[in-house]
Each structure stands twice: as C-alpha cells, then as structure tokens.
Amino acid sequence: SQQGEEDPQALSIQEGENATMNCSYKTSINNLQWYRQNSGRGLVHLILIRSNEREKHSGRLRVTLDTSKKSSSLLITASRAADTASYFCATGGFSGGYNKLIFGAGTRLAVHP
C-alpha cells in the first residue's frame, strides 16, 4: 500500500494565488521529500525535510512537517502557469540501511493564466 496520501487529488487556481498541498503518512520516517512531475516527464526533486525539522523554504516553496500528526504540507506562493504539474510527496526511510522512498498518489495542480 502507498505510504503517503496527498490531498487534494486535484487543485485548480489562478496565477498569482498560493497553492497548498497536503500529505499524510503512516509510519515513522527519516525524511519527507516533495517532487514535481510535468506531463510526460520524469520526477524532479524539489525539497527534502528531515524528521527533526519543522519547516523548510526554497524559493517560492515552503514545506512543513508535523511528525506528531504524520503530515506535511507544500505551499507554492505566487503561483505561475509553469507550476502546472503533479506534485508527489515521498517518505524516506530505511530498507536494510539503504535509501528507500515510498511515494504518495500525487496532487495535480493546474495554474490558469
């Protein structure tokens, strides 16, 4: 079964608005990562937040992590049409000591000009 579940499944906003996507997971984690996937392309790593961190910023991206609630959010501020993509959270944990990511189902974001 999937570790992470994103909410909402789809989000449609206007350019300039903020977009917030949420991710919930079930087991303990070492880190949580967010990826973007443009249509027909591979996934691109956006940001990683470790389990002992609560908030992280990268440009227009802000990620929060609440390990007590097993949830994370990704905020994209001042969205642009180019932000239209699917966004996935992935939980990072140990598999025999090795790096293993389990992905959620993704949120499809559409930003309209």
């Binding site: 999937q2 070492n30 880190n31 990562q33 990826y35 996937q37 027909g40 392309r41 591979g42 996934l43 691109v44 790593h45 990683l48 470790r50 699917s86 996935f88 990072g92 944990g93 140990f94 598999s95 025999g96 000591g97 090795y98 790096n99 293993k100 990511l101 389990i102 992905f103 189902a105 993704g106």
Partner: protein, 113 residues
C-alpha cells in the same frame, strides 16, 4: 548532459514478447532504482541495486528481472509481457544513504497490445 537516461522512451509490443529497458546514470551515485507508474499515477518501487548488489526487491512477478552490470547501469528485462504490464517505468539514482533525493530519468512508456 542528461544525468539519468533511459532507453527507449516509448515501447509498443505484443503480448508474450520479451523486452528490455536500459538505464544509465553519470552522477556517480551508488544506488539505482526501477519504479512503475500506473495509469492513475501511482509510483511503486520495484527494485533497487546498490553498487551492483540487489537490495530492494518488492513483490514483482518473476517475469521482471533487473540486471546491473556496473553501478552506473541498471537494466530491466521483462519476459512474456502481459497487458497489465503497460505503464511508465522510471529509473532513478541516488546516494546510498538515507536522506538524499533521487534523480529520475524521463521514463519509458510501455504499451502492451
């Protein structure tokens, strides 16, 4: 220069055929992965190799056989293809230790007819 490259990008084949997908990374990463993305965009890990050694082998039909001739290459061979194998297959690489993001290839869209 492409960091993780997969070939072919598209693959259309008939049921029962055997096919291979190749993946190469020039990032110097120790670990490589195969993920399957279905029509609903769920990404599921299939295999992972660390420095040519199989470290993750999820519940995948034994018709799927990965091969890693060296740490920069991870190929996926599929025997007796079935309609349900139709999906996009992504190769990825990362540092071995937990806490690093993945770099994905652009995917191979496999269609079994």
């Amino acid at each position: 220069d492409t960091a993780v490259s997969q070939t072919p990008k598209y693959l259309v084949t008939q049921m029962g055929n055997d096919k291979s997908i190749k993946c190469e990374q020039n990032l110097g990463h120790d670990t490589m992965y195969w993920y399957k993305q279905d029509s609903k965009k769920f990404l599921k890990i299939m295999f992972s190799y660390n420095n040519k050694e199989l470290i993750i082998n999820e519940t995948v039909p034994n018709r799927f056989s990965p091969k890693s001739p060296d740490k920069a290459h991870l190929n996926l061979h599929i025997n007796s293809l079935e309609l349900g194998d139709s999906a996009v297959y992504f190769c990825a690489s990362s540092q071995a230790r937990v806490g690093y993001g993945y770099t994905f290839g652009s995917g191979t869209r496999l269609t079994v007819v």
